[in-house]
Each structure stands twice: as structure tokens, then as C-alpha cells.
């Protein structure tokens, strides 16, 4: 249903206690951007958010999508503009009012935020470069 909140946990992919997962990632996950570790996000889970873009920030060190889902605003972090640019995104790719479905890894803190993994337009727009 467009505009409605649809938060789905797709469940744990790794059957490891959370504390153990944090330690393991801290030690062994070198696939980080230069700015901060990915450990702030729970990458064992994904959430799906369908909502309306209030703001798209094309900024360093991260791009952000402010997404309103059932009246609640989510802070959704992306990579730096250079990574998006390489994948066909531009500052105009998302505009206020666009309706999108975002798949994200949630913040471990439980706050309304996450790391954007995928964005699909609900308005039929092409987002990024087709892979």
C-alpha cells in the first residue's frame, strides 16, 4: 500500500548472539568507508520502508534520505556522493514528494534510522544506473 508504513524484519541471517557479532565485525570487517564503522547498523537485519521523501541530502561525508513513513520521519544514511555518483545517482535523483521503497539495515540503537541498501521508486522512476 503506497505511503503506508511497512516495516519488515527479514530476520537474522547469522545465528550469532548480538554481542558476539559486534566484536566479530569490529575485528574482521574491513569493508568500511573511511568515515566510520558499519557496526552502528545491524547488518544481520533488513527493514523495508515505504514512504515519501521529505529531503535528499547530497553531502559529505554521507548522503541522507529523510523519509516520512506514516507521519514518522526516518534518518537514512547512504554512502558519500562519490559512490552514488559512480552508480548513476545524481543530486536530482530524489526530490521532495517522491514516493520510494527503501531497504535498510537498522540502527542498533533502535532509533528511526538506518543504512540504505536499496531504493525503488514507487512512481515508476529509474533510480541510478541499471545494473
Amino acid at each position: 500500500m503506497l505511503g503506508a508504513a511497512r516495516r519488515e524484519s527479514e530476520g537474522a541471517r547469522m545465528r550469532i548472539p548480538v554481542a558476539a557479532t559486534i566484536l566479530a565485525l569490529a575485528a574482521a570487517a574491513p569493508s568500511a568507508s573511511a568515515h566510520h564503522s558499519p557496526v552502528m547498523f545491524d547488518q544481520t537485519k533488513t527493514i523495508t520502508l515505504s514512504g515519501t521523501v521529505r529531503q535528499f541530502q547530497w553531502t559529505n561525508p554521507h548522503c541522507y534520505i529523510q523519509l516520512v513513513v506514516d507521519g514518522t520521519e526516518w534518518n537514512l544514511e547512504m554512502g558519500a556522493p562519490v559512490y552514488l555518483d559512480n552508480l548513476g545517482w545524481r543530486p536530482s535523483t530524489l526530490k521532495a514528494g517522491d514516493r520510494v521503497r527503501v531497504t535498510a539495515a537498522p540502527l542498533r540503537s533502535g532509533a528511526n534510522g538506518g543504512l540504505v541498501l536499496d531504493v525503488v521508486s514507487l512512481d515508476g522512476k529509474t533510480i541510478g544506473r541499471p545494473s
Binding site: A27, P30, A34, Q55, G88, G113
Partner: protein, 246 residues
Amino acid sequence: MSAAARLAAAAWLLCAAAPVLAEPEDWNGVWFTEQGARTQISGFLANDDAGRTTQLPLINLDAPWTEEARARFQERLSQAAISKSEGWGYPMMMMSLTPLEFVVTPEQVLILTTYRDVRRIATDGRALNAPEDRWVTAWGESVGHWEGDTLVIETVAVRQPNLFFRAPPFSEATRYTERLRKVGPDRIEGEMTIEDPESLTAPWTVRQVYVRAQGLDRLVMDTFSNDRTTLEDGVFGILPPQEPAD
């Protein structure tokens, strides 16, 4: 032999003896490490549990570290989850996820990242400064020369600890020797040999392949003016956006 013929022969000999820098523009442009080319819109690699420990070749506890250096490296990695960085620094910038831009001239090669890392590699024949005159920086002091299609670089005077929170714990006495060979229009194969009398028990050679970026033709620099990542009591969060003042 006529004067013209002698001139032509001399010109040919000069060309044949000169460093092979016939197509420096072929190096110019934006490149990714092979692993960096797979970076997603998240700024990270896709969940790839099998490959995580091998994505950044310098993050390797199995290198010939001294026991003391290995312990320091393990301690640094244990703190990485609650650390933030302002950039990569050298040598991490050469083996990270972030794209690199090569700017090649006859006198120097610049290697840039969007984290505002800038390496200046003199290729005009100068030598490294005398040890007492070296300026220790996050990117070090480099000189290079061309051996055919290979750029050979010597780097010293790299400040420690470096910028990236997982950077290996080399000492400032380390000497880095890189050989970057362009093996095709869109591929450079590199190796870096690291000699550190203080933290390594033997020279350590690390290999890295670079591929030309498919969606970028230049890097755009910017400050970190919109850093919304918070860190309080060891817990990361995302601040709401700053709204423009009325």
C-alpha cells in the same frame, strides 16, 4: 649521412632512450581498487561474509608483525567500532574502497581521493630528502620513476598513527616501495613492499589491482560539513538534518 638524416637518427635515439611516458594520459582519470569497484550506495560492500576479511589487504594480522606490533594492531581493531576518521592517509588510501584519481605529468604524479588525500610523487629525477630534512606527514614523501609501463615509487616519512582507524601500526621509519604496472587500458596491477625495522620482522609485500571507474570521470572534493553521525557513550546515532534558519 646528410644533416637531416643525422638529425632524424638523433631524434630517434633520444626517443628510444627516454623514459616510456608516451601515453601518460592513459593513467589519468578515476580508478577503483578491485574491491572498491563493488561499493554499494550504502558506502560499504554488499554483505559478503566470505570476503570480509580479505577486502582490504593491509588489514592483515598474519603479516610478519613483531609480537608487540601485532598486539597494538589487535587493540586498534578492537576500538574500530567506536571510531571515526577524517580520511584514509597513506598507505591505506591505495588499498581502500574509495576511488583514486591519477594526474600524471612529466614532472610528477598526483594521486587524489575524495577524502582530500593528496600524494605528490616527484618523477623529475630528484632524490628523497636527507632524513633530517624530511617532513613527516599523513601521506609521506615520495619520489618515483618510470620503467616502461611501470611506475616505481619510494615513500618514506609517513606519520603514525595515520588517519584511518584501522590503519596498520607501521612506524615512521617504514620505507614503502610500490610498483604500479598498467597491464591494459582499464587495469593496473600494483604491489607494495613494506620494510619497517620496528614493527615487521621481514619485508611484507601486498598486492592490489586497480580498475578504471565506470561512472566517474573526475573526483569532486568537499568538506565533511554535514557529518550527522553522533557517538555518545559508545553508541552511534544519526542526527536529524539541520534546517536552514528562518
